[in-house]
C-alpha cells in the first residue's frame, strides 16, 4: 500500500437528515462504499469536510472517532463480520465492551437486541451454526445494541438468498420506523426503491438524488 491518493470520489455535496432512509446505489467501483465509510467515520476524506451533528469529523482524535463509531453508528456488512469463536450473544455484546458497560448489562442488552431481530433462542450458538440470514440478523442486533442514531449497511443482502434478503431489508426498514436513520449501500435497485431516498453514484459523482 503506497501513499498514492486515489480519487474515489469527486467533490460531493450531500446532506442527510435524521430519520431518513437513504439508499446509495451504483456499480462496484463507483465510490459508493468509500462514501459510506466516510459517512460512518471509518475513514476520513482526504479533502473536504464532513459534519456530523454539526461537528467537523476531520479534526477529531482517534479516541473521539472510536467513541462516535461506538455510540452514533451501527454497522451491518455484506460478509456479516461476526467473530467466529464467539457466540451470537457475545458477538452482539461486543460494542458494549468498548464503552465500559458491565458484563451483566452487556449480556442482558445483547439478549434484548437478539429478541428484536427474532433470534432470542439462538444466543448460545456460534456463527457457523447459523444460516446466512440468521448471521446477518445477529449482525443487525449488534448494530442495534448500543442504540445508535444511524445504522449503516453495506450490501447487507449481498451474500443472502432473496428471501432472507427481503427479511433483512424489512428489519432495517422497521428500525427506520423506530427512528433510526438508515443508510444502505446496494446495487439492487429493487431494494433501493423501498427506501425514501435514493442516491445514485457513478464514477465518484452523484448522478441522481431522489
Amino acid at each position: 500500500m503506497g501513499a498514492v491518493a486515489v480519487n474515489a470520489l469527486y467533490p460531493i455535496d450531500l446532506a442527510i437528515k435524521q430519520g431518513e432512509s437513504v439508499s446509495i446505489v451504483g456499480r462496484s467501483g463507483s465510490g459508493k462504499t468509500t462514501l459510506l465509510y466516510i459517512l460512518g467515520c471509518l475513514s476520513l476524506p482526504t479533502s473536504g469536510e464532513y459534519l456530523l451533528d454539526g461537528t467537523s469529523v476531520s479534526s477529531l482524535s482517534d479516541v473521539a472517532m472510536a467513541k462516535i463509531r461506538n455510540q452514533s453508528f451501527g454497522f451491518v456488512f455484506q460478509s456479516f463480520h461476526l467473530l467466529p469463536r464467539q457466540t451470537a450473544l457475545q458477538n452482539v455484546a461486543l460494542p458494549l465492551f468498548y464503552n465500559g458497560t458491565s458484563k451483566e448489562e452487556r449480556l442482558s442488552r445483547a439478549q434484548d437486541a437478539l429478541e428484536q431481530v427474532g433470534l432470542s433462542n439462538r444466543g448460545n450458538h456460534l456463527p457457523r451454526e447459523l444460516s446466512g440470514g440468521q448471521q446477518q440478523r445477529v449482525a443487525i442486533a449488534r448494530a442495534l445494541v448500543n442504540r445508535p442514531k444511524i445504522i449503516i449497511a453495506d450490501e447487507p443482502t449481498g451474500n443472502l438468498d432473496s428471501k432472507s434478503g427481503d427479511e433483512i431489508v424489512e428489519l432495517l426498514l422497521g428500525l427506520n420506523g423506530k427512528g433510526h436513520t438508515v443508510i444502505l449501500v446496494t446495487h439492487d435497485t429493487e431494494i433501493a426503491q423501498r427506501l425514501t431516498r435514493k442516491i445514485m453514484i457513478a464514477d465518484g459523482k452523484i448522478v441522481q438524488d431522489i
Binding site: 460512518g40 471509518l42 482517534d62 472510536a66 463509531r69 461506538n70 456488512f77 463480520h81 460494542p95 468498548y98
Partner: protein, 405 residues
C-alpha cells in the same frame, strides 16, 4: 476495556490453535527452563560448598608462609626467619583477649600399625586446635595442655585414617609408630568430610612440641589460625596481624593472611561466572523464543485483519487494539514461562539427583528469585516482541481492514 476479560479471550485465542501456540511457546519454555534448571544446580553446588566452608569454622583467618621468588629470597636473606612459634606468641600477646588463636606445624610422616602402612601429613597442634578448626571428638580425648608441655607421644586420628590403620578393631589405647617413635592413640575425631580436595577425616594430630622436637628440629609453623570474635572485625584483626608480623620479620612480607570470607567470596565469584554463562545461554533461547512470538503475532495480525476492522467499527480505539494484541503475546509468553518453570524445576531436581550421586551433599536448589526472574523475563519477552505486531494492528485503517476478506 477490561484486562481480565481481554486476557481470558486471549487465552481462548491461543487454545484455538494449539499446535501453533505450542510450537511458538517452545522457545520461551526452553529459555525459562534453562534458567531455572541451571541456576538450581549451580545454587545447589554453592550452598553445599558454603556450608562445608562454614563447617570448617566461621570467622577464621589463616596466616601461612608465602613462597618467595629466588630474587626475593636473595634480597631478604638474613632479614626474616619465616613464620615461627615466636610469631604465634606475639600475636597471642596482642590479640588473645578477644580472639582465639592456634598455631599449626606439620610434617609428612610414615605411620605404621602392625603390617599397615600409611603416609600422612601429621599436624602438631595445641589443645586450642579442635575448637578453632571446628572438629569434634568422636571417642577418647583431644590433645591437652599437659601433652604439649610434657612433649607427650600421643596421637589423635581422623575417622577415616583410624579405620585404615585399625580396620574394625578399637584403636584407643593402642600403639602406632610415627616414623621411628611409638605413639599412643588417645582419641578419634568425629567425621567431618572433605572440601576442595582436602579430606578432613585423614587428619593426624600430635602435640606441637612433640612434632618440633622429634621430627622437625625447628619451630617453623605451617600456619597460625585465628578465630575472630566478630565478622566485622576480620579486616581490622588481619591488619593488626600483618603489622605485627612485618615488624618481627624486619619488613619482609613472607607470609600471607587469608580469610574464610575470601574463600566464600571465591565460591560466590565462580557461581556468579557460571550464572552469567548460563544466563547468556538462556537469554539467547529467550531471544529466539521472542522472535518466534513476534513472527506468529505478525501472522495473527494479518489473519485477523478483518476482525481488527470490525472491532474498530464497533468502537475499539487504536489503544484498545494495541492492548488486545499485546495481551495476547504476553499470554503466550506467560504460559511459556509457567511451563518453563515447571519443566526447569523438574529438570533441576533431575540434575540434582545425578549430582548427588556423583558428589554427596550436592542437591539442586530452586530459588524463588530464579523462578520470579524466569517468569519476569518471559513476560518481558512477550511485551518486547509483541509490541511491534500489536502496534501494527493498531495502525490499520478501519476501512481497509474491513475490506480485507
Amino acid at each position: 476495556m477490561n484486562f481480565f476479560e481481554t486476557f481470558t479471550s486471549a487465552l481462548s485465542n491461543l487454545t484455538s490453535n494449539k499446535l501453533r501456540s505450542g510450537l511458538t511457546l517452545m522457545g520461551v519454555v526452553i529459555g525459562v527452563a534453562a534458567v531455572i534448571a541451571m541456576s538450581s544446580i549451580v545454587e545447589g553446588g554453592k550452598s553445599m560448598t558454603v556450608s562445608m566452608i562454614e563447617k570448617l569454622g566461621t570467622n577464621l583467618l589463616s596466616v601461612r608462609p608465602k613462597n618467595l621468588t629466588e630474587e626475593e629470597q636473595r634480597a631478604f636473606t638474613g632479614r626474616s626467619k619465616g613464620l615461627r612459634y615466636g610469631d604465634y606468641n606475639a600475636i597471642v600477646e596482642s590479640l588473645a583477649s578477644t580472639n582465639k588463636i592456634t598455631p599449626i606445624t606439620s610434617s609428612r610422616i610414615q605411620i605404621k600399625q602392625e603390617d599397615r602402612n600409611e603416609s600422612a601429613m601429621v599436624e602438631g597442634v595445641l589443645q586450642t586446635y579442635m575448637e578453632i578448626q571446628n572438629y569434634e571428638i568422636g571417642r577418647g580425648r583431644f590433645i591437652m595442655s599437659d601433652d604439649v608441655t610434657g612433649f607427650k607421644k600421643v596421637v589423635v586420628l581422623g575417622k577415616e585414617i583410624s579405620e585404615k590403620l585399625f580396620g574394625t578393631s578399637d584403636p584407643l589405647g593402642h600403639d602406632i609408630k610415627l616414623g621411628d617413635h611409638r605413639f599412643i592413640v588417645v582419641g578419634i575425631l568425629a567425621e567431618k568430610g572433605a572440601l576442595h580436595g582436602i579430606n578432613y577425616d585423614m587428619t593426624v594430630v600430635i602435640p606441637a612440641t612433640t612434632l618440633m622436637k622429634l621430627f622437625l628440629g625447628n619451630d617453623l609453623l605451617t600456619s597460625i589460625v585465628i578465630k575472630v570474635d566478630a565478622r566485622k572485625k576480620m579486616k581490622q584483626v588481619s591488619d593488626t596481624i600483618s603489622a605485627i608480623l612485618l615488624q618481627r620479620h624486619n619488613g619482609v612480607e613472607d607470609f600471607s593472611i587469608r580469610s574464610q570470607d575470601q574463600l566464600v567470596r571465591n565460591v560466590e565469584m565462580i557461581v556468579f561466572t557460571f550464572k552469567i554463562i548460563f544466563g547468556g545461554t538462556a537469554a539467547l533461547a529467550l531471544l529466539v523464543g521472542g522472535i518466534g512470538i513476534m513472527n506468529i503475532m505478525l501472522v495473527t495480525v494479518t489473519e485477523r485483519t478483518s476482525e481488527i476492522g470490525l472491532r474498530m467499527a464497533v468502537g475499539a480505539s487504536r489503544k484498545a487494539i494495541l492492548t488486545q494484541f499485546l495481551i495476547e503475546s504476553i499470554a503466550l509468553s506467560a504460559v511459556g514461562g509457567i511451563i518453563g518453570i515447571i519443566v526447569g524445576t523438574l529438570l533441576g531436581s533431575g540434575f540434582g539427583w545425578l549430582a548427588n550421586k556423583a558428589i554427596d551433599g550436592w542437591n539442586s536448589v530452586v530459588l524463588p528469585s530464579s523462578v520470579f526472574l524466569g517468569f519476569f523475563f518471559a513476560v518481558g519477552v512477550g511485551v518486547a516482541f509483541g509490541l511491534y505486531p500489536a502496534y501494527k494492528a493498531s495502525q490499520l485503517a478501519p476501512a481497509e481492514a474491513l475490506r480485507s476478506d
